[in-house]
Assembly symmetry: C2
Homo-oligomer: 156 residues x 2
């Protein structure tokens, strides 16, 4: 049992997004979450560089399936610097998705733990995220609690 668990942990390790992940189905995975047309290599590279320029203040992580070579889970966190809370920092988790074919393997939990730990290591006093009522129970299992409501204004 211990060995199986270790094997599973080794198999599905969370790591930072790499530019080569575009060819491993990263965009197709995001399409399971929201509107995401195919993106040119140039545009992807530019956005990758723009996000990377924030260093540890904006982290996109992934889980790759070593067997298929596909990206099967992802999530991101960015660190907001505030004046309140004595010039505190807040982690914002965004765009968490697990491949519909890879559900039930706790990959979402791994992603959230990775992002939450990153925010903690960056000195945040809290991490926040928005989710549907449907996903509330999942985040509660990850140690999150409901607090406020999310309001949105769309431009397009």
């Amino acid at each position: 049992m211990q060995n199986n668990s270790s094997h599973c942990d080794q198999k599905f390790q969370v790591r930072k997004l790499e530019i080569s992940d575009k060819s491993k189905g990263f965009i197709e995975l995001l399409q399971q979450l929201s509107i995401c047309d195919s993106v040119s290599d140039k545009r992807f590279a530019e956005r990758f560089e723009a996000i990377s320029s924030y260093g540890d203040d904006h982290l996109v992580c992934v889980i790759e399936d070593d067997v298929s070579g596909k990206i099967i889970a992802t999530g991101s966190v960015f660190i907001e610097k505030k004046f309140l809370r004595n010039c505190g920092k807040v982690g914002h988790i965004e765009d968490v998705v697990v491949d519909s074919c890879a559900r039930g393997m706790q990959l979402g939990k791994k992603i959230i733990e990775f992002l939450t730990n990153h925010a903690y290591s960056m000195g945040c006093y809290k991490v926040i995220l928005d989710c549907s009522n449907e996903n509330k129970a999942f985040y509660e299992k990850c140690g999150y609690k409901q607090k406020e409501i999310q309001m949105v204004k769309y431009f397009i």
Copy 2:
């Protein structure tokens, strides 16, 4: 009526935060929103520079009362760069507060309009914010709609 309105608009203009606003009660204003002990000038300057280094990707705005010389309203927005929505951008509005002595003058609406317009001008496809149920009606008047729920994990 037209003149009064113009006068009021001139009097309560929204502008970017300046480093000298610390001495105009900016921190005391934030204390009306959340925990915010007094901050040293050095720490304030460091955080001001850190936020300024993001340029238009992180904007803190204020309204100054020309009569008292005090900051009486503030809010911030930062621009998150995503891969989904065809490498889209999302504006995140945070830390909106109006001085309890300056309520009823539509200053909150001015702040939200300023931040929303900034997100639009930066090419965001949407702007989001979290608020209490109590403040939902105010944001609806600003053109926002409830969408999801906010989950939080506190480290301290």
